[in-house]
């Protein structure tokens, strides 16, 4: 009896210590296997200490998560951490006082912060114009080129490094009856990362970092040249445009209808399991004629934003979680189980040391590409209402590749409509 009473008292004591732990919430958009991994990370964090308790909540797609976050913020019910995709970064960063910079949150809680710890391509994307990191890069990927080694070997060509080589390879592939490539997400691969790879500006006002951009660099000679080439290749059957849907462009590669596919560096895990051929991965192609020292690309994916205006204790909990999240071990676990790149140099080094890249060489391509030398225009971009602009791009490029309008007309349409949208956004920023 006495013993039972003691256990009872002990249990109450224990539960009261867990009750005393600070609870924080994390709204994310990671479904399926990714969601499971998120839950594992949260569980590990909760088990690693007993002061804080994080609760991940799946809120649907990126859009649904952001919409839910906005609605909750307006009703003073915002979560502590909100996951926001690259496209929505400007939406949250430009809204004064919504997000508390990760750098501040970490430093205030005594964790210290040095942005040089982060991989070059990751460092500035979610930072302000002074390089202060606002959002914590979480699931990060970048576009790379996947190729079918079997087909290329049969035709006797190597994977192209440049678009010039791509054109030569394409004519040889065509002789053997193969289409050369498809790609998923035109604005991301053929505009944003095309610009970064060639070190060209994406938008005015320092890519939108210094002040809200009012014009994107879409109606430019480089874009006109590139899209006219793509259109030409599409007419010749080199390039296959299957619409704006991601999977509709990836599936033909898996079914060996096209020899190459430009897609996310995070896709290799799923791809490798699904295809019957030897898979190869390499850097995103570039035009030798445009920039012979092509550099790094941007990160895609999403970042975690700490919502400001929460009690100090909760902000400390967020800081503790961010610190846990960026530890090399957590990063390596995330990298290996999802295919997203590691965001810190230490995590990259640890993964390298573990011998992972010997068995999974494809996994390293994204990280290496993000670590290539960069230039003035490779930091990232900040564009308000950008998902509306991407929508316009999809619409216009659908029309271009279906022979309904010319490349020049499409670029001009995007330019004009995006200026209206950007200037509207600029007026909402105070």
């Amino acid at each position: 009896m006495k013993k039972q009473l003691m256990t009872g008292v002990l249990a109450t004591l224990l539960s009261s210590t867990t009750m005393a732990a600070t609870d924080i919430t994390w709204w994310h958009a990671m479904s399926g296997q990714l969601g499971e991994t998120v839950n594992t990370i949260a569980r590990d964090f909760n088990a690693s200490q007993d002061e804080y308790n994080i609760k991940p909540v799946f809120k649907g797609s990126y859009v649904e998560t952001l919409t839910a976050g906005i609605a909750a913020y307006r009703a003073d019910q915002a979560p502590n951490i909100l996951q926001v995709a690259d496209v929505g970064a400007a939406t949250i960063i430009n809204a004064r006082g919504v997000a508390k910079p990760v750098e501040d949150i970490l430093v205030e809680s005594g964790y210290g912060f040095n942005n040089q710890d982060y991989i070059a391509g990751v460092r500035n994307f979610y930072a302000d114009s002074n390089g202060k990191m606002i959002g914590m890069p979480f699931n990060s990927s970048t576009p790379v080129l996947y190729y079918n080694k079997d087909i290329l070997a049969k035709v006797g060509v190597d994977a192209p490094k440049t678009y010039e080589e791509m054109e030569q390879v394409a004519s040889k592939l065509k002789e053997q009856g193969y289409a050369t490539f498809s790609q998923s997400l035109t604005p991301w691969i053929m505009f944003e990362n095309f610009k970064s790879r060639h070190n060209l500006p994406v938008a005015n006002k320092n890519n939108g970092f210094d002040a809200p951009a009012t014009k994107i660099m879409i109606n430019t000679p480089d874009m006109a040249m590139h899209f006219n080439k793509l259109k030409d290749w599409s007419d010749k059957g080199y390039y296959k445009y299957y619409g704006s849907d991601w999977d509709a462009n990836q599936t033909p590669f898996e079914k060996e209808q096209v020899a190459m596919w430009l897609g996310s560096s995070g896709s290799f895990g799923g791809l490798r399991n699904r295809v019957d051929f030897e898979l190869g991965t390499t850097y995103l192609p570039y035009w030798q004629s445009m920039n012979k020292d092509a550099g790094r690309t941007f990160i895609g994916g999403a970042a975690l934003f700490a919502i400001d205006g929460k009690p100090k204790k909760e902000q400390q909990a967020v800081a503790a979680f961010f610190s846990f999240l960026t530890s090399p071990e957590t990063q390596m676990f995330w990298h290996k189980s999802t295919g997203y790149v590691t965001v810190t140099k230490a995590a990259y080094a640890l993964t390298k040391k573990s011998g992972y890249y010997q068995e999974q060489p494809d996994a390293e391509v994204g990280v290496k590409q993000l670590s290539l030398p960069g230039g003035e225009w490779t930091k990232g971009y900040r564009l308000g209402f950008y998902s509306q602009i991407q929508e316009i791009m999809h619409r216009e490029f659908d029309n271009v590749f279906a022979n309904r309008i010319s490349v020049e007309k499409a670029l001009n349409n995007i330019d004009k409509e995006s200026q209206v949208i950007l200037s509207r956004f600029a007026r909402t920023v105070r």
Partner: protein, 293 residues
């Protein structure tokens, strides 16, 4: 004295109406008023800044060729979907009503589609018409039709209409069948003695007697085509290709929720509200006059 009599009503009827009025006020009038207010504003999504811009949102809308395209698409789509789902359902109901044996089997197989949600219907359509694994894409290809859901607006519209009609026929079927069964047997019998032609009997006797049901269904179907096909569009085409299947409701969602442009999206909602009110008025003013209850 007599006048005062009018004011001695009990408050009870009003009291009983309160719940209904409250629901309408909270879920309809308040959001509608909010939409009207927002349509004159330019706001950042977080509600940090709010700027009165007068009619700017409307000006942008009416100067946009894409919006005009969306209006034309929506009206055309609504008419085609309503016409097809009403006429197919009527044909099926008339035929099913005349069957003597196995009537139940026909009724059940024709109505169970009713349980399928538009979004689910859209996903099923997405599988069947998928460019790479779709059964129908292959069948069309073997017939020489280079069918492409994601790149050809005509093909995309074709699938949307097909799925939307398929989904709606069952609802119409139930109502038409009920309508047919409520026509008195005596009338039919008398007509049969006077007129031998099935077709003539249908157009002169059955169809006018079905008119009240038909009118009700017309209103329901247009509303369905305007609003509920959202789920089908979202799961099948997302408004593409080339923006060719963006209905007004879908555009409101895209610009407001994905594009986070609340003002522009609110202006579109107000326009849609006015459009639907006008359409409803026309229906009741002109079509209902020809319906005899």
């Amino acid at each position: 004295m007599e006048q005062r009599q009018q004011y001695t009503h009990s408050a009870l009827p009003y009291f009983l109406l309160v719940p209904q009025i409250a629901i309408i006020a909270i879920f309809f009038f308040y959001p509608a008023a909010e939409a009207v207010y927002l349509s004159f504003m330019l706001e950042d999504p977080w509600g940090q800044s709010s700027l009165f811009v007068g009619l700017e949102n409307y000006t942008i809308l009416f100067n946009s060729t894409e919006y005009l395209k969306s209006v034309v698409f929506t009206l055309g789509f609504a008419l085609v979907v309503s016409f097809l789902s009403l006429s197919i359902a009527l044909l099926l109901a008339v035929k099913a009503n005349n069957i003597l044996h196995g009537k139940g089997a026909y009724k059940i197989t024709l109505t169970w589609v009713y349980a399928v949600a538009p979004a689910v219907a859209g996903i099923m359509g997405g599988f069947m018409f998928n460019p790479h694994i779709g059964v129908f894409t292959e069948i069309f290809a073997s017939l020489g039709w280079d069918f492409s859901l994601y790149t050809d607006p005509f093909d995309a519209t074709f699938v949307l209409v097909l799925v939307s009609v398929w989904k709606q026929v069952s609802v119409n079927f139930i109502y038409f069948l009920a309508g047919l069964q409520s026509i008195s047997y005596a009338v039919n019998e008398a007509a049969m003695l006077d007129c031998e032609s099935d077709r003539r009997r249908f157009w002169t006797i059955t169809f006018p007697l079905l008119a009240p049901t038909g009118f009700f269904l017309l209103v329901i179907n247009l509303t369905y085509a305007f609003f509920e096909t959202f789920g089908v569009i979202d799961t099948l085409t997302s408004g593409g290709p080339g923006g060719g299947t963006t209905s007004l409701v879908y555009k409101i969602y895209r610009d407001g929720f994905i594009g986070t442009d609340l003002g522009g999206s609110a202006a579109q909602s107000v326009v849609l509200l006015v459009l639907v009110l006008a359409l409803t008025w026309v229906q009741f003013k002109f079509v209902e006059k020809r319906v005899h209850y």
